[in-house]
């Protein structure tokens, strides 16, 4: 095989291409019409829909902000009453963070990444579509609660004990947990897609150090989701279990601690800020070089800065908890880490400034550039006030006041919304026939920029004069009237700017075909000419700005002179390359439109919704239907070998089916296991945390001692047998078109032992009389089984699915992806279960 590092002497494929090839590509990648639009999976179609949905939530949450600003415009105002105000600020924060910011960034990933990587689609098209539908349905239901007094009122941070049933009866808080559940699902699904996408579907030759910064940022974004979201997933699980079944994780009287929630929430919540900010910063790093006509100064430093920010962001969650009374030593540590984060941000800011200066011609002032410059100014202020609040004594004063409201709006609106609007103006021609209007764009920018500063700058002062956050009214004696009125006026100016933008969208935005080719004369691949099938052929990349360095690239790609100009397998496909060097490895065959993932999302949504309003039987029916839809969805995957290796051009003959660590499916499973592992680690943290706050012995007095070690040994033995059984089944997989009766028997044995291992563990504790509602210790002990049990349940379901594949002749020693995934999850689950036994049975004996 040729080496991708050598630039090819001649182009990989011969042009002109044979007649009919283009028509075939068009037919294969055709967009579903009419009602079948819901079945669409292609990244551009669903990605635009995703972006639209996220923007809709931005508008809705923005309207809530305006209502709050009207209420606060004057003192002693009764425009909105207390209860509604409390709901509105909760829904505003939750919507902006969970339904707008994260999805908006993920949507950009879905739309932009395949284009920047010149891939025909992301590796798991239906997974993205599923995640999007779950998000849209769940998000709309969550938001609509504000219209009928069912909205949560515990703040977007939902601190217990306020959010426990005792202080928040009714379903309001459960709707919050429901809404977040959907975002958790879609964020994790998106993260898997993005990690595998950026690492495995790059064009040949695009080694990691040639990857566009946005792809780097999305890779880090997804990795951060893998490690941060599990903390909030666990937190929401614990809270819902305490609300529904009374397991006292957060109730001090029973050994729980409300601070556990804060640790978990902010361990997620702080990285969340950077999850939002890093991709936005990287978008700026893509726009600035184009407008300056020169490559980014300090590309490598920028990559390091992105990684460093992602890494450090996990070490400073406690700065949200400075005023909870934590010891001075912790204060100093978290204060220091919080300041450290200013360094990578500083690197980025100065590399943009240096790039602006480095261009031979002056930096072009377009609407995207204006938003970038506005971002620079606003974000710098947000960063400076961020350093201020990182100093603990100062935070004691301004924490939970309008100073902090000002600070994080400067960071988030400056750091994310302004780059997002720059993105809208910059990348619109990639997906729309027209560009947006530069003239109206100036209006949008100046209204938003002026409005933002008028609204939020005075809030620094409002907070210092003593106004706390989350208050719906204040007395006119406090002297806050004028400042608040100014803020309200500013808020409406921002709204006017957004309104002009919406008008511009209506007048100009025409999705479906590409606009003027490369209107900004940018250097990266998303500006290649495209159609429904993405680029006509997949280019060979030799630099970071291929369009600048290979002047004829666009024409050659469009002529089909690069890789995979055809559809050799007769279906949707793209090239999978090696994760670091970008060597072509195989051709992935992808599935097309389907109703299955759509219904899977609808029924998943229905299941959670019905469960929230406690309609159990229909909820279970929907769960079954969701599962069925998933089966239909994945049945078409794992298509097996059976096709000869295909020629993609340039001398590359690639297989169309691979298994094991080279396959994208294996990678996705590993990412999923990392998610499960970080979920489990946050559980271990929670277990040990409650031990540290327990004033007595562990288990607490009055609580039964753990069962005799025989129970743990029996459970461990079963878990080990399950691993052995799957390992045996693996070796016994029959050759294609033959049968080995031991394969299904060992698979069943493996899944059965896994479930039994968890069941034995639960029974052992149950028989000692341990009651999960009595102490937080007991609740934590059973929680271990909940976490391992849910994986064992998943393994059981997947085993039945794999058996169905086996008995229909779709699983054998060559066509084995399905089996590998079940086996991998089994091995992981058994390992987690064994660790759990060590913790639950060993720790009380050691610490006791």
């Amino acid at each position: 095989m040729p080496d991708v590092d050598d630039a090819p002497n001649s182009l990989p494929s011969e042009a002109p291409r044979p007649a009919g090839e283009l028509e075939e590509l068009k037919r294969i990648w055709a967009k579903p019409e009419g009602w079948r639009i819901f079945t669409a999976v292609n990244n551009t179609d669903i990605g635009l829909f995703y972006m639209g949905a996220a923007f809709l939530f931005f508008l809705l949450a923005g309207v809530l902000a305006l209502l709050m600003r009207v209420q606060l415009a004057t003192s002693d105002n009764d425009f909105i009453g207390q209860d509604l105000y409390n709901q509105i600020f909760t829904v505003h924060g939750t919507t902006m963070m969970f339904l707008f910011a994260v999805p908006a960034v993920e949507a950009l990933g879905v739309v932009l990444l395949p284009q920047m990587l010149a891939a025909r689609d992301l590796p798991f098209p239906r997974l993205s579509a599923f995640a999007i539908w779950a998000y849209v349905i769940g998000g709309l239901v969550f938001f609509s609660t504000v219209f009928y007094d069912l909205a949560p009122y515990g703040g977007w941070f939902m601190y217990p004990p306020l959010t426990l049933t005792e202080y928040s009866p009714g379903d309001n808080a459960d709707f919050w947990l429901l809404g977040i559940g959907f975002i958790e699902i879609s964020a994790i699904a998106g993260a898997i897609e993005i990690i595998v996408g950026t690492l495995r579907t790059r064009p040949p030759g695009m080694s990691l150090d040639k990857m566009p910064l946005f792809a780097w940022a999305m890779l880090i974004f997804a990795a951060m989701i893998v490690f941060a979201f599990p903390a909030v997933i666990l937190a929401t699980m614990l809270l819902e279990i305490e609300r529904s079944f009374g397991w006292p994780f957060f109730t001090a009287a029973k050994g729980g601690d409300s601070l556990l929630w804060q640790h978990l929430f902010w361990f997620f919540g702080h990285p969340e800020v950077y999850i939002i900010f890093l991709p936005a910063a990287a978008l700026v790093s893509m726009i600035v070089p184009t407008m300056a006509r020169t490559p980014l100064v300090g590309y490598r430093l920028n990559v390091v800065a992105l990684i460093a920010t992602g890494f450090f962001s996990f070490g400073l969650w406690v700065h949200h908890m400075f005023s909870t009374g934590i010891p001075a030593l912790s204060l100093s540590f978290f204060s220091a880490v919080s300041m450290t984060i200013a360094i990578p941000s500083g690197i980025q800011v100065f590399s943009w400034i240096a790039t602006i200066a480095a261009g031979r011609d002056r930096f072009q002032i377009t609407t995207p550039s204006l938003f970038v410059l506005g971002f620079l100014f606003i974000f710098t202020i947000g960063g400076l006030t961020g350093v201020m609040v990182a100093v603990a004594p100062f935070d004691f004063q301004v924490h939970d006041t309008y100073f902090v409201v000002a600070h994080f709006h400067y960071v988030l609106v400056g750091g994310m919304v302004f780059p997002l609007f720059a993105t809208y103006y910059y990348w619109t021609p990639m997906v729309s026939r027209n560009m947006l209007s530069e003239k109206r764009g100036r209006w949008v920018f100046w209204l938003m920029f002026a409005g933002f500063n008028i609204a939020f700058f005075p809030m620094h002062a409002t907070g210092l004069l003593g106004m706390p956050r989350r208050v719906w009214t204040y007395s006119n004696a406090m002297g806050w009237d004028t400042l608040n009125m100014v803020s309200t006026v500013g808020a409406f100016i921002i709204a006017a700017g957004v309104l002009v933008f919406v008008i511009d969208l209506f007048l100009r935005f025409r999705p479906g075909e590409q606009g003027p080719e490369n209107p900004w004369r940018a250097g990266t691949l998303e500006w290649l000419p495209t159609d429904v099938y993405s680029t006509r052929s997949i280019p060979h990349v030799t630099s970071r700005e291929p369009l600048w360095d290979q002047p004829n690239l666009a024409a050659d790609v469009e002529a089909g002179a690069y890789y995979l100009p055809n559809a050799p397998t007769g279906g949707r496909e793209t090239i999978v390359t090696s994760p670091i060097e970008g060597e072509p490895q195989y051709v992935i065959r992808m599935v097309g439109p389907s109703w299955s993932h759509f219904f899977a999302a609808v029924f998943t949504a229905a299941f959670f919704l019905l469960l929230t309003i406690k309609v159990v039987i229909p909820a279970l029916v929907c769960a079954a239907l969701a599962l069925l839809s998933c089966f239909v969805w994945v049945w078409e995957l794992d298509r097996g070998p059976g096709k000869e290796p295909v020629d993609i051009g340039g001398g590359f003959k690639l297989p169309t089916y691979v298994s094991g660590p080279i396959s994208h499916s294996w990678w996705a499973m590993v990412v999923l296991m990392l998610v499960a592992a970080s979920l489990y680690l946050t559980y271990v943290f929670s277990y040990l945390y409650l031990w540290t706050v327990s004033p007595q012995v562990w288990p607490p007095t009055g609580s039964p001692a753990p069962p005799p070690l025989e129970w743990a040994a029996a459970s461990a033995a079963l878990l080990i047998v399950s691993v052995a059984a799957f390992a045996a089944a693996d070796r016994l997989l029959p050759a294609p078109r033959s049968i080995n009766i031991w394969t299904p028997i060992f698979m069943l044995l493996g899944a059965g032992c896994l479930v039994a291992g968890v069941a034995v563990e639960i029974s052992g504790h149950w028989l000692t009389g341990l009651n999960a509602t009595k102490t937080s210790y007991a609740a934590m002990v059973y929680m271990e089984s909940v976490l391992t049990g849910q994986l064992a349940f998943a393994v059981a379901i997947m085993t039945f699915y794999a058996l169905a594949r086996y008995f229909t002749g779709k699983l054998d020693s060559e066509r084995r992806l399905t089996f590998e995934n079940v086996a991998l999850l089994t091995y992981y689950t058994a390992g987690q279960g064994l660790f759990g036994l060590l913790l639950v049975h060993g720790f009380p004996r050691v610490s006791g």
Binding site: Q82, D83, S168, G298, I347, F394
Partner: protein, 334 residues
């Protein structure tokens, strides 16, 4: 004492309060400190703000030069060195200095006061008011609510706990905030520099009427404080006036004592604020209303409109004259 009432009532009056705000000395302003701790933070604020202002100006200027400066300057700015200098070297130096300053502030232990042992006060966060517990020299428990009185110049140790959800105790003119967390005990130490009245407010969202959970802080001279505490320790004086006596009877007959204590009477409830000396306080309903007779009547009848969601039911059952009697009785519990 009378001047404090006058001041408290002036804070309620818009016109009278305006000068307070206009001079930047709002009753809750962290920038008009009256405490040793708050003063340090105010200084820290000005240092950091001026520093930040200079940095912001510099970044803006450099950006402007990068866009439209002379070609020579732009060439100089467009180098890797700028990224390292501006993005790494400069922040490392300034942040290290700031961090050191912050450490010093965090670790300052106030020198042991010449004026003896710290005064210990316990404050319990309740939905949505403050239970305040003093101890006298003999260690007797003296309960009050919704205001804090303390002697000037002595360290005050405030023990903070919560009876239900998380609250946060914040009197900005004296010190930063500290949370009140169920199952935990936090201690806030502060020292007031001058006598005078200021205000504080719950800073952690605690549901429902969070916005209306405030309190007054009254810093007094040591003798004034001792005198006040001695009086606060005593039982309520039985009313002498007929109307107030009628109020007392009504209070007992209507079951108010199930939630409220008035020492010296049969009322011994512990759910709501202790009312033994309620007439001597600076406000009603955790700084929701000024403390006058009319306010008592309004509160009893209409408290759900004044402070929605508060845990006291509205009592529409009283006639105007009964309300007047109750108000007279309570207002005179000084």
């Amino acid at each position: 004492m009378a001047r404090w009432y006058a001041l408290a009532n002036r804070i309620w009056g818009a016109s009278a309060a305006l000068p307070l705000a206009a001079c930047g000395g709002g009753a809750q302003s962290a920038l008009a400190p009256n405490g040793v701790q708050a003063e340090r933070v105010a200084l820290l604020f000005w240092v950091m703000t001026i520093g930040s202002g200079i940095i912001l100006l510099a970044v803006t200027l450099v950006t402007a030069l990068a866009i439209c400066g002379p070609a020579r300057w732009r060439r100089w700015l467009g180098r890797d060195g700028i990224v390292i200098g501006g993005g790494i070297v400069f922040p490392v130096i300034t942040l290290t200095a700031l961090l050191g300053y912050g450490f010093v502030l965090t670790s300052i232990n106030d020198p042991p006061s010449a004026s003896g042992e710290p005064v210990k006060i316990a404050v319990v966060g309740e939905r949505w008011w403050w239970r305040v517990i003093y101890r006298d020299v003999a260690g007797r428990r003296i309960e009050s609510a919704n205001e804090l009185r303390m002697p000037v110049g002595r360290p005050i140790e405030i023990e903070l706990t919560s009876a239900d959800v998380i609250h946060s105790f914040w009197a900005p003119k004296l010190a930063g905030k500290l949370d009140m967390i169920p199952g935990r005990k936090n201690v806030l130490t502060l020292t007031a520099k001058e006598t005078g009245l200021s205000r504080g407010q719950c800073a952690e969202y605690c549901g429902g009427a969070h916005a209306l959970m405030s309190f007054y802080v009254l810093v007094m001279t040591q003798p004034e404080f001792e005198q006040w505490l001695a009086r606060e320790a005593g039982s309520a004086k039985a009313p002498t006036e007929p109307e107030a006596q009628q109020g007392m009877t009504l209070f007992a007959a209507s079951g108010c004592g199930a939630c409220h204590t008035i020492r010296g009477t049969s009322a011994n409830g512990v759910i709501g604020p202790d009312l033994t000396h309620v007439g001597g306080r600076l406000s009603l309903g955790a700084a929701s209303l000024p403390n006058d007779e009319a306010a008592y009547a309004r509160w009893i009848k209409d408290n759900q409109r004044i402070k929605p969601g508060n845990l006291m039911p509205p009592y529409g059952i009283f006639s105007e004259s009964e309300l007047a009697a109750l108000s007279r009785y309570l207002a005179n519990l000084r």
